[in-house]
Symmetry: D2
Subunit: 348 residues, 4 copies
């Protein structure tokens, strides 16, 4: 690529692929295999993932990316006149360029949101609203865990939201692009986290946790399974050489690589927070719960810093920035970045 590989905090998808993942791909690169997931290896890995999530009979559908996983979930769960309730900061709402509407034909209802989390009262107001033929009918609650704002729902919060949703006959979807980071941060297994959310469909993330390309839609509610093979293909998410997606998840599930990667990224965010929390001119806007640090610093400092390190301005009004750590962020990266931040605000 370049002579001096750049380091940055733009996103966990700016990171590299974990070597174990590349090794698993190479190991799968032998012989001919039926495409589209109809090979025994893929089916075995699907079973491993379902088991890790606490329900060996759950159906697993590997897909290409997070938008694909989320939109496939909406298409599977919603009739045309039904809507999904999401947070104001949900990726589905803000970062999928209208794919839920354009591809799934689904309306999103925005619930009251605090620090990236749907509130119980916000959900209650939407599900208790009388419904008639002029208004879409809420049928799905989609929660992001960990949230786009780097926060987490606690297990009791998830439980309460899911219970309320189910009581009103909504299904529960979790956008788990960073599900592993959440489980690692909460100190629970993937299965425990899925169970806490009474999840009916899960977008389980891989790409942001050390894979090259690949996410999975895991369907716990059997009623949603018929048609899903067709629907994945129609949603343009069916890989022909599927074994290479499966291999990546195989690596992720081996020796708890998912947990090691996620816990490391979380730890690096904590280290970054601790290193910058005391710097004059840097205001960390909330304690990092997973692998992101959000902070406000002034424009001059920000721009100076961006000459050396990639990261995103998260809010163009408040000037809040996001610093995202990943499985391959090193302690050295953090220390160099913290030093650069210190220098940038001092110079500003």
């Amino acid at each position: 690529m370049t002579a001096t590989p750049r380091r940055g905090f733009a996103s966990d998808n700016a990171a590299t692929v974990h070597p174990r993942v590349l090794e698993a791909i190479a190991a799968a690169n032998v012989g001919h295999a039926f495409g589209y997931g109809h090979d025994p290896y893929t089916q075995e890995v699907e079973r491993r993932l379902a088991t890790a999530l606490g329900d060996p009979e759950a159906s697993v559908f590997f897909v290409f990316n997070g938008s694909g996983a989320n939109v496939l979930s909406l298409r599977a769960a919603l009739h045309p006149w039904e809507a999904a309730i999401v947070s104001a900061t949900a990726h589905l709402h803000t970062d999928e360029v209208g794919a839920p509407e354009a591809v799934a034909g689904a309306k999103l209802l925005i619930a009251e949101t605090v620090e990236g989390r749907v509130t119980l009262d916000g959900l209650r107001r939407l599900v208790e609203r009388p419904n008639d033929e002029h208004a879409v009918k809420p049928a799905l609650l989609s929660l992001t865990q960990a949230t786009e704002w780097g926060t987490l729902y606690s297990l009791p919060e998830l439980h309460a939201l899911a219970e309320l949703a189910h009581a009103h006959r909504l299904r529960v979807h979790v956008d788990g692009a960073r599900f592993a980071n959440a489980a690692a941060a909460l100190g629970v297994s993937l299965a425990e986290l899925a169970a806490a959310a009474r999840v009916d469909l899960l977008s389980f993330g891989g790409t942001k946790n050390g894979l090259m390309v690949g996410e999975a839609v895991v369907v716990f509610d059997r009623a949603l399974v018929p048609g899903l093979l067709h629907l994945r293909k129609q949603t343009l998410q069916l890989a022909s050489k599927m074994r290479y997606l499966a291999a990546q998840f195989d690596a992720l599930l081996t020796d708890d690589l998912w947990l090691r990667n996620a816990a490391h990224a979380n730890a690096m965010a904590r280290r970054l927070h601790d290193a910058v929390a005391g710097i004059d001119g840097v205001r960390v806007t909330r304690p990092p719960a997973a692998n992101a640090v959000f902070a406000v610093l002034d424009r001059t400092a920000r721009e100076r810093l961006q000459r050396e390190f990639d990261f995103y301005e998260w809010d163009d009004v408040s000037g809040e920035v996001r610093w995202m750590c990943s499985w391959d962020t090193t302690e050295g990266d953090i220390d160099a970045f913290a030093a650069a931040i210190r220098a940038a605000v001092a110079a500003a």
Copy 2:
């Protein structure tokens, strides 16, 4: 995967990934890179591909799979009231589970088709039909090269079809899942083949020619470019860790790997044809133009053969089967398969 890796002729997507492709992926696996294609390496590979296709200024959009490439092309080229003309055997029509209709909202008009090819008369009848507000308006001609039936359009055929299409203000799309095989078989460069078809949009295949995952939509018509970045994302075809798609194409374009892979697959199909053409009980239905052999043999022989080798029954009425060769098909594979065919029909 398994102790004795299975060999087969089911599809060129049952093949492995070329080692050079894995090497390029490993080489790209260094440092942090902005996601979504906004890194210099991806942009450089996009330029390489455009140049190889004869138009360095063409816009290149890497996507995940062939259905994604095709549906993105339809979405880019068609207004809601417009239609694409395709062959009766087009992948878009028969093998994408209604994604053109469900995701692109596009109606397909089926042209007269001979041996997988749209005929000039068939196209003429559709484009010369009077149009009023009750009927969709044809605005795109989509040709598959090489076709799903293993046949090829000659350069003059492409030229004539494209001229007629353009004369009626239709754009030309080529579904080039096996574009490399076609160029290799016709003995022309990628640029010459694209030029012959006066192509406005091309789905350029990678997966069937030795990549792991990745296709490209190449847009030659500048008028279609605005909005395409948004549209690729909305069509669920935007990879976050894009450099790993780019790396695969980088390998494919280096040392003419695309040509070597494709020419080899074509040669293996020719070898298979020559080996089985004289066998009593095997009727090859057309000379192999690219990397597929189609043949009719009786059900008993077919079923016996499928116990050892994977392949598809192509037509459940006629009993025609498809034997597809790929970059990694060996001469030994062919010889073993031909012997098995001989034995199967003898026993039947």
Copy 3:
């Protein structure tokens, strides 16, 4: 409108509104009524129509037009990965400008068609085809009765097609824009015709049979009813001042106006056929089964005739024309038109 109102044979929708229909509208024009069909009068007329169709418990949804009725039926009956089987001449396929694809997202599978009718063998080939995730799954058979080519399915034909469809778990939809003409021609009640087709959903026509604006979707299969109120609204087919649609159907169902209008239109087509069948230079292409006459005459005669009378050229290749009779076609209209035809072909 104009000094000398023009007469013509362009379509049964070029006709006027029956005076009884206008009277019913005027009678309903009293007092305030809840909109959207939530008034007792509309509900009573819905019940009348369901009863006339043989199932008083069937659900009736008044809509604006035939395309609306058909597309609503598709949306009600199909999952995204499912398809409807239609004839090659179906209005859904040829005359709704891709609304089934663009609005319902549905792929249409074209069955072998003879004289406007789906053949049993054609249907069998489509429903017996193996299905996998790459191909849409047929889930609805849509038959037009009377057909767009002025022909009819006999009751045994309907029965056989419906049995085959149901045996393969497809539902049956009838596009009955001219359902009344068909019942009148076959000498059966609306209920008998619906029963013969084992119809699950019916687009029941009004506009072409003397109404001003209004069709009805009648849903016999209870499983399809939930969500349909929402779906009608979302499909843009919910009239706010619904009582005025209901009033029109009230008139149509009173004193068998539907039958008198339809039988009259059919009789006029028969009269026209008899008057022109013997004319040299006019070739009637099939005996008129309902209210249309199709004929071939040469271009000069055609153009001369169109200066006086409106009608459509049906096939721009063969020069076949369609002459459509309606509830308000008079014997004098027929006699004048037949004389003009005679003169036109004589002069040509």
Copy 4:
């Protein structure tokens, strides 16, 4: 209908059809006319409406209902990756059961809304937001005039919003289901009101102002016209017997019937306001600008009142109700209703 026709304040679509409208329909009910708007009478009325709106060259498309008009406007104005900015109370957002999303595939961006009106600051925040491929691009501002909350944008407000929208290359749509009420209340002509909003597309309402069925999409921006005939048909909004829609608008435009109807409805709302404003236990929540009165009264009074008169609870949390007056509301209706309100709150 019923022995004692009920009176109510549920909606202006609970009203009857104006006798002049029925007369115009009867007058058009002569002779045969080409369907789908291809008759001279329809074309003449289209011209009349365009002229009344200040641009004789504007294109007019009669449609069936308000949802149809609005969704057709979205489909005409938006590419798939673009969005419409609407108020939080817009009919498009709250009362069209997700048709914008499901049928137009469009995402709606909700602007800050005060008393039913988009604020200039709210619009500014949405149009000045940086855009990348992950977010939909705002391309249309849709304003409702008069608003769903019975309020009005002043001419300078419209001007300022439209200028800001156009400066950011957004088009301006007005949902004018009650455009006539707005013009009447503001004391301006339809043309002046359209000009003030620099409107590019207008949903011009008829049904709520004395018609039976019928709205119009009026397209001022020539660039949006190509394809619109096809798009209206595809959006299921093409009437076959179009002359009967045209006739209703003909009546509405004759002798300023639109103005007389609208001004009367507005005056009745004012009269109702004045009659109830002083009643203890009734809190009018805002002065009536057009033909609606909103008020809060307690549940017991509300329920007692609804036994005699139809009206809607507008907000199930606050208990706010909406009382809507129409062209056929009489002074007697108001006086009786006011008396009933007085009695209901006294008894409560």
